[in-house]
Symmetry: D4
Subunit: 248 residues, 8 copies
């Protein structure tokens, strides 16, 4: 099939074909960055996702995550890959050839670092779980501390010792995003802030917490894109990868 | 149930379970701030709302408001709490164990302060009613003065004496939000301005009245978030709480 | 002098003349709003300010504040009104015929309410002092709690009992403006938030703390314009005026 | 001189030369639009302005206005055109060959329409005077009603009958720009709104009144650019030109 | 019915009742502004619209327009007012007691002014028709010149003489909105510019043509809100009303 | 049919009529610009599109493209023009009287230039195909290089020699849009950058890649509107048209 | 000198030293892109510019342009390179070892393409001259057509035949930027649009013409950054380089 | 001295006094966060900075950094602290009681981690040096790789092995900020991105690279505020602190 023939029939028909015209997989990424390419599901059809999955499997990759894939699309993909596991809160699909379960105790024993995911409110759950589940997929242990926003700061203070034990702290918050600054001032570990688009009015789809976190008065807070729980987990993984490399 | 197991099954199944993994209720809030935690319904599932409601009831709270809950979600919650009352215009759900009606005359006798809610147009009704109903929930009397926008200023002027008798004035307006400045210049009482997202084009979802109100040429106007009728009622309640404390 | 002749000679020559062409003083404001018109100095020439001052004095007003007047302009105005006192931090000029000093102990005895002004950082001082000095000009007592931003939250917590004794709390913060939410969650009194333009980059001249404060997760926080310490004091004064009226 | 040689020496030297390389004067504009081209001074050097002035004079135009020209630049231009009159508040320069004074009583008798210029505050004076003086330059009578912002609405109401007599009303306001809506609701004549950049913080250099005016709840208000007093006068002139044409 | 009872049952039930709680009709508007209050349908329920219509009819108004009312809502309203005429392109509903047809030839004879509505593209039709139909409702004659955008400027030039005969020109354009400047430079009559939200990407829902029109290099162009065809017609009507008053 | 009767019945009925009231076709465009008018389908009804198509055919144009037309609308149009070909990925409809197939080999032999379309990710496919198919419609050859974003820069480098052979390079990218700068630094040919709205959060619907591309550190990159694959193809065509003209 | 010692003494002292710590010159650029690296003067000190110049000369480059360098800085650089020519309008510095004059007639004979630079107003001159002079530096012939904005469209039309003869047309415009669309609709050649920051108010430092140009209704217009006359010349050069390559 | 007396005399006189009214030093920060409070110089007077410095010294802190302090202010501070060292490029002042030089070789031996600071251009030097010098102040070794922007990607590729040896990589870039994505795709270590405000036009004071970096297609890049070289160093320090803690 000619690479130049993309447009004269629907991509849907074409996608199952082996040589991908619409994607150039980066098979080399694990060697270069320590992590396989993760498939970003948004804006891709189920057939495109299946095609990329199959292509990665064909190239010997056995443990693949798809993010931002809604349930309907995941169901279509799972027709071809029935053993893939769907996590509905973070809308992730996990393909794992060894059928090892995501939170299998044995695996946890192997886990290297501890990531704490802290949220301001219940509404931030979806984004937080993307961070948490992605971290677990990457073999890290996760401590979830949810709904401890600064309007009732004792809720955070009562759990701060727990949080301090983590190697990396991911703070997920919408609205004014103040939690990132407060945590950043209480914890010496790397803090990664994820603004969420939850809110309304002058939140402007997450602009408010994004600006807050960038202007954090606690210095040394790294910010990722709005709702980018995945990116936060990847930065945590870079930090823990460094730790692993240095300690081994 | 382990706090770390949030992600391996759907939150829907999990929520009815007693120990909440997705929320950290601030039971202490009434003591600290004079008002129970109010449940913000947006971005929460019906099961999460029900779970939080049950948890608050279990901790002895008997009078609870849920805001920003649409009718479909409210119907689901009311399957578990059939006596909760749904207010369709402000999209609030009121749970009240003593079954005391919201606007019961006996209760009104107990009311401490008078809040006037003034709107520029009919389209601001929904937001205004969130302010009004929340104030009533907090035992304040409410004077509604609706659709008196500045394009026909005599409508406002003809009712200004009534408005002046209120202890706090909440002004709800979309479009250019000019009403807040005009009221602020006519009334000596605290004025709380609520911009609304009603409008189109260069209203930019409420940005126009928000900026107007922040730039009010009448000084001493406090602004809350776009469409945040609830927040305005809460600020009014802080003011009336101060009054009550000082006068008792 | 003809009202229509403004443009054919420089306003500088014209201003000292008695009948003002460029201003329409609202002599009735104290009766209507409880406070004299305050002169906003920004964008007015020294001669215009002097002209308005003289006009107000001629109409029997003996206690007048000018805000946002820089030192050079104030020096020019004080040539005509040598007894006016200049406050350099908040850039205010106070004219007081009875020569009563701003913080005269006797006056303080008369003060009605207690306003706490809380700042996140030292850089917010100028705006905070506009709130504080304006409150003192309005005969309120002021408690200053400066530089207690959330990056070191113990600084705030150690002074929270003091702050809780105030009738109204004004929170002044730049950067991410998180302090307003934290204070709002710890204090039941009316909280007025003033975003400041101090900061750089993604602060966007105060947009970041403005949005934060509007999205405060602590409900019942009223926001005023960026750097508007004056407006915060005026809203505090409306609240304290209500208190005074009810208690007298 | 070759049109293509602009860049090899400074425009300053070149400008006095007769054939303009940097400007293409629209001599035909009066015939087409009823008004000569007006020289916009901002971003032009004194020599460029003088060059264009001379070129227009050479083509028989005897009555020319320059807008947005500061005093220093005007002084330089007046070395070549000593009889040109400088208006310092609106920063305009008027060249008039017949030496007819701008507000000469005889001329006023000729004036066709009455333009009312209404401002919210003293700080809007500069922009208002650009509207007023430009209207006078165009032979209209001007009624100035200044500093009648909505924070003291009686100031406006007390003069509304006067304003209603005008043919066109120009409303100049900064801050929240509410005056345009209020006037638009009280007057049936065409209303032209000019937002000003006076203000601070969330005024965002005039964005706040601009959006307000565009969202005016009084329908039929035409808005021009921020600080564009000139443009408002030109729109008024188009309206009065139509009137003149129809009535003659 | 008590004005304070709005919230305890659905507005839908209440609206048909005679005394309106949710609206304060400005019956005086025709006398003051020359035009009846026009009902803005967006954000109002069919019952609210019907209620306001009935209330206006009960107060003797016999010719009423409703704007921004979609077909479904209009159908509901027409159950109560079967003779009201629905115009589907501009989404307007016209109630006219004398059953006089909108474009009845006899009426046209009575029309006073000629409004030209010029659009850049076919996609601007809906907004343009709001201007055109509203102008016809106000008894003006309308000349439609559609799809003459500047990418093919001869299309505009070939019709410019026709356009010049109009008393007022309304220019409706999306994308870059350049048409307003070009028309403004070719026509001496008042030009009203209406930016439309048609477009995509960097049009930012009409921000691009809005800014263009405000910055028009042809001076004397008045701008109304994005998609506000109604407002443009109302400004045209103010101008033509002035003309009528002066000529009668 | 009278041009002024647009509004009294639905445009749907009217469109099939021959004389178009809602569109002014620019038949002269091919002569002037070298390309027929292309029909922009967004915001036009199927009947309007069919009407314009028929009108163009009636005027002797035999090869017409419609862009931004979704499948449902295309199906309606194809009822009238069954031979028109629909390309589902770029959502284009091609009408070609000679029934010559878009990618007919004979035609390719005629093709003049080579356009390379390079994308950062699979999600940019739709926009890229609009560029590619439009270029093919204009008889250019197209080299597709998809999913070579800078996160795995070797993917781009491995194909750079191929890309360098193209006459014009169109770079399509969302997210941070970095690909345009990198390609611009590696290739000496004209580079046209198309930002896409694919992404989320701080992408702000394509604002992020738009600003990136405008600020490209590789100089000489021309940017078109967000998602405007069509515009990029048209700019490429202008360049190739110049080449053809000079070389013939 | 150690690359790591940048910070312990002022860059000013260090810059004249031969090995540059603060810059990594891309000597390979001419081969790769057909043009030497051009030094962007903004944000660089005179010493840094001199250092880079010297380094380039030392590597055998004999013809170097510096852009965005103000006169004061240029004077400092010319102390070391007295033969460099300063162009004051576009603020460029040209270093040319063969002392060949920029517009030497002999050179013009060598010029390959013709670039037309068209401006809307006199105020756009500076940006236009950056395009023009840079094009001349790159050995292209330049046709300057200045001040032909659309408010007097006959000025443009009268020169359109001249413009059509150019190979590439650069349109420079501020305010509403309409000129790009109009030219794009009249000329079949590649059109490059340069928005300028000239203007005030809702121009928002060039945002208005930038958005206009991106939304141009004339398709195939490539846009560069605000005020980026240099970038436009570089894109023109890429196009003319392609032409040269193909024709040689 | 009374904490409430801040406003009645200038802060300048007051600052040298021992008890600070304008600042609440967080002496506990080193214990809590591993780093002393760093003094942010912007918006503080020289006297305030000196006062805070003295207060910290009095409390036993012997190694203190002041950031964002310009040379004039630093000179004033150094009158009181003549041994403090001023770094002119990053505008930092270092006070170090042991007089140990910042880059003393012995100290370097103690350094724990290696931070690579990579910049896109020479203009980013100031921000980069803030990162580099702050890292050195915190006892880390620094590898500077400057001016390797993506327009000449071979410059980066030729040094990538060096960069990969660092423990943390700080990428400093203005314009389109593409460097962060490219580095993020080539290096597995934690990448911290610092957007700079260098640029013009559509850079919008650093908004362009800020958005780019937040949307980086290379996942796991943490972003700090525009120009916040300091914050990047602090995040690097949190990561290296974790490493040190784990390895000791």
């Amino acid at each position: 099939m000619d690479r130049n023939n993309v447009n004269d029939r629907d991509i849907e028909e074409m996608a199952p074909a082996s040589s991908l015209t619409y994607a150039t997989i980066d098979y080399d990424r694990e060697k270069r960055l320590g992590v396989n390419e993760v498939i970003f599901g948004l804006g891709k059809s189920a057939d495109q996702i299946s095609g990329i999955l199959q292509d990665m499997i064909d190239h010997g990759l056995g443990r693949i995550a798809v993010t931002r894939i809604d349930e309907a699309k995941a169901d279509l993909v799972r027709k071809q890959f029935p053993d893939a596991e769907y996590l509905s809160i973070p809308e992730m699909l996990i393909y794992d050839e060894d059928k090892m379960k995501l939170k299998d105790p044995a695996k946890k024993a192997d886990s290297f670092g501890l990531v704490s995911v802290v949220t301001a409110g219940t509404s931030d759950l979806k984004v937080a779980e993307e961070s948490a589940c992605m971290s677990e997929f990457l073999h890290h242990e996760v401590l979830r501390v949810y709904d401890v926003g600064v309007a009732g700061i004792h809720r955070l203070l009562s759990r701060i010792e727990e949080i301090r034990k983590a190697d990396v702290v991911i703070v997920v918050a919408g609205m004014e995003g103040a939690l990132a600054s407060v945590v950043g001032g209480l914890v010496s570990k790397p803090v990664i802030a994820v603004p969420t688009s939850i809110g309304y009015g002058a939140s402007f789809q997450g602009l408010s917490p994004l600006l807050s976190m960038l202007n954090s008065c606690a210095s040394g807070v790294g910010v990722v894109n709005i709702d980018n729980g995945f990116g936060a987990a990847m930065l945590a993984n870079r930090i823990l990868g460094l730790l692993k490399e240095k300690m081994s």
